[in-house]
Subunit: 325 residues, 3 copies
């Protein structure tokens, strides 16, 4: 990870939108090394880690176990002091603004604030107003960049190269920050991106996400010949607006079962950001079948977050005004 650090120039990770193709490659290479050299994260010496003496705060103002735990482990495995702040215990309940919360944490000499927030743009808003590095762990329906990066890491490891791959992203695309970050990343890396879901859950102009991004009306067309299928979690309370009375009806039209999967390439992989709702967006036989890489995504997530925490703190360290020997 050391040799590549000169090329990384971002003090924050706010979204895929801000990253170049080289930036993305850099994160993926760093995370790939971590996955391949487990001694980095597991060795008994790692407490002399890259983030030793640094403070990482997980500020999660939306419920999350999976992503919070992934960042917490990533920080701890790099030797950082990690502090969790959740919505329930937060001063936000005392009427404090997000900006005051972030500035307060900043004043406590925090190096990285990992922020999950229900409002789109929240991470950008605070990033320009803090000395700490801000890592966006999901902001409203906007971006979830580490999810897209871990999905890309899986694609790279399973398929060798992202360019030229055909990837279908299916479900409630419109409201999904996972879909948005993935489409942006895959478009930048030269993959063909196919979006599919109920009409009211599709973005109005998919091409805005990338020149290789297109919408499909039927799942069969979206999945045909795909190298990978990213199934999104559907929020059942949103189905009422789609005139689909039940999750069963949704599952029949937009769920991924073995027959639909047969239209994809024979070695196509099935991805999901979790937690999976079996029988809704994924048939149990697919979720737990040989094509599913869902648990590998989880492992890749910790590696990607370790790489990101390392890179953004390096960028900060090398800023002249904050140079530290």
């Amino acid at each position: 990870m050391l040799s590549v650090s000169r090329m990384w120039a971002h003090r924050h990770l706010l979204g895929i939108e801000e990253l170049t193709v080289d930036d993305i490659r850099l994160v993926l290479d760093a995370a790939n090394s971590i996955l391949d050299r487990p001694e980095i994260s597991k060795s008994e010496d790692r407490k002399s880690g890259l983030l030793r003496g640094r403070t990482v705060i997980n500020l999660f103002l939306e419920p999350s176990t999976r992503t919070r735990t992934s960042f917490e482990l990533a920080g701890k495995r790099l030797g950082a002091d990690v502090v969790n702040i959740g919505a329930a215990t937060s001063s936000v309940t005392k009427g404090e603004t997000l900006l005051d919360t972030v500035r307060t944490l900043d004043a406590m000499d925090t190096h990285v604030i990992v922020l999950r927030h229900p409002g789109s743009g929240a991470a950008h808003f605070v990033a320009t107003r803090t000395r700490a590095s801000v890592v966006n762990a999901g902001d409203g329906a906007h971006e979830h960049p580490t999810q897209a990066l871990l999905d890309a890491l899986i694609l790279k490891r399973k398929k060798g190269c992202i360019e030229g791959l055909v990837v279908a992203i299916c479900g409630d695309v419109l409201h999904s920050r996972v879909a948005r970050s993935n489409a942006l990343l895959l478009g930048k890396m030269g993959a063909e991106v196919r979006l599919c879901g109920p009409r009211t859950m599709m973005p109005p102009s998919p091409a805005a996400l990338g020149t290789t991004v297109r919408s499909f009306e039927h799942m069969q067309d979206a999945v045909a010949g795909a190298d990978a299928i990213i199934m999104l979690r559907i929020q059942t309370e949103r189905l009422e607006g789609v005139s689909m009375a039940t999750t069963r009806e949704y599952s029949r039209v937009y769920g991924l079962g073995p027959r639909l999967l047969d239209f994809a390439k024979p070695d196509a992989i099935v991805m999901h950001p979790g937690p999976v709702q079996r029988g809704v967006e994924l048939d149990p036989s697919v979720a737990d079948g040989p094509r599913s890489v869902i648990l590998e995504q989880v492992a890749a997530g910790v590696a990607v977050r370790m790489a990101v925490l390392d890179l953004v703190t390096r960028a900060r360290k090398e800023t002249p005004s904050q140079a530290v020997s």
Copy 2:
């Protein structure tokens, strides 16, 4: 702890039921050493600890401070990275199954999952489906093995030997995992176990817990000549089903006060898993009196959990397929 590790063969600690007499002795000896050599847990060097570089996740899907804190301190004092996941913040609220939660944590390269769950059998269910070691921190009305082990450690330290002791376990025996694990352990170790409580709170066949386990109708008979009395916490909402209108009435018949204690041996000790309800199951003069070893139980608990975390991770390490230099 090193010299005995060859004899321990369990990757999980699911219940007392699965342990042999030698297994129990092994845990008690290891925990006893920790209590006697406080430098293991307190020295400034302990961060070069036995679990350095290992991840312990406290997955507590029922409220608990006492047991969770005890495991958290045990893990941290061995140098592990400890992550807490509670019911409130868990993805379980997003409809994720317990198995998915555990598999996700497993994929994050977790070494030990400490599980508290309201369902009996939950720890067994997940143990066969994960690479991590599972330590049962209480599953429904089934088992709470570390509580029984810490109680045994106190008995051993106070009485020299568990075999031949007379131990009364009193209260809501039927619904108590503490009573169940204790009866199983004490039976295996050759103690005479006497169960006593309201008829609707007694197990139908006490002998199934061990050949030396018997039920008693009257507290005076259960306590007569006892070396130790384990008083259980009564859940007051259960009293309605026992046709006892008030905790006061329960206390009069099944609570332990100084007069009842006089029937026990002169050096009998009084134990309670905590938190104590003074004036209900225990008279304040007994709870805080010279026979009470309740706070010593707490100290023993951290030592037992350190021993258990060490042993289960050793067992994992020494499995050939996961051998690490």
Copy 3:
């Protein structure tokens, strides 16, 4: 910090009331060194810290993010194992008494219990009944000593000397532990303390807090010629009792805006314990203006808490009965 430790004799920090002028100077000097030598808290070697191998428990039985996080970071930066226990997850919900909770934590070999509790006197009550050091992080309307110490550190750094300063403390003085601890500290250190707020929110005998403490009816008089103004957070639900229908009306009479601030000295600083309610007790232009030192207070808070954790554990260590080599 080493050279001064001989002079510190307190195993607990319960309130400003118990401290001498020398004690206060000692904490301020220690904290000042920490702020000036950031390598103490930031160096990569700090994990060989002063509290390495020690356990600090944050027992927060009232909601708090700011103070809890400040203590958590202070403990971690000194190398301690820090465990958080909150009201929601606490056994207190199982009917356990505060004393039992504290004694249980004590039995787990805890070195410092940082206690926030809604009851005035809670910290004193438990301190005499535990082997651990108790640090009061706010008890009802009684004291919040680390807040007063951090405010004093800011005054000392900004003004050079506390003696002779004129400090106005404004708002709901009666119910504020921040006001009480600050008035006590500033009185001891020889500052002139002016209290001002709605009549029903003023203490009956201000002189009881110190011979230099006086009440003022009008904000303009309290602020006139002041070196520093400490604005308290107003709990809007208390305004009904003051016959002020709205926060707007409160703001007009007792809020600090630029015109009122003009009556203070030209270099007067504005302080607030946070979180700030802009437009209520502080005008936004003042809260975020050049006189505001609110974020510096936050930074000072971590330093003061590091100094306090270090001093109370040293005092404990040097008590002969618990001498450790």
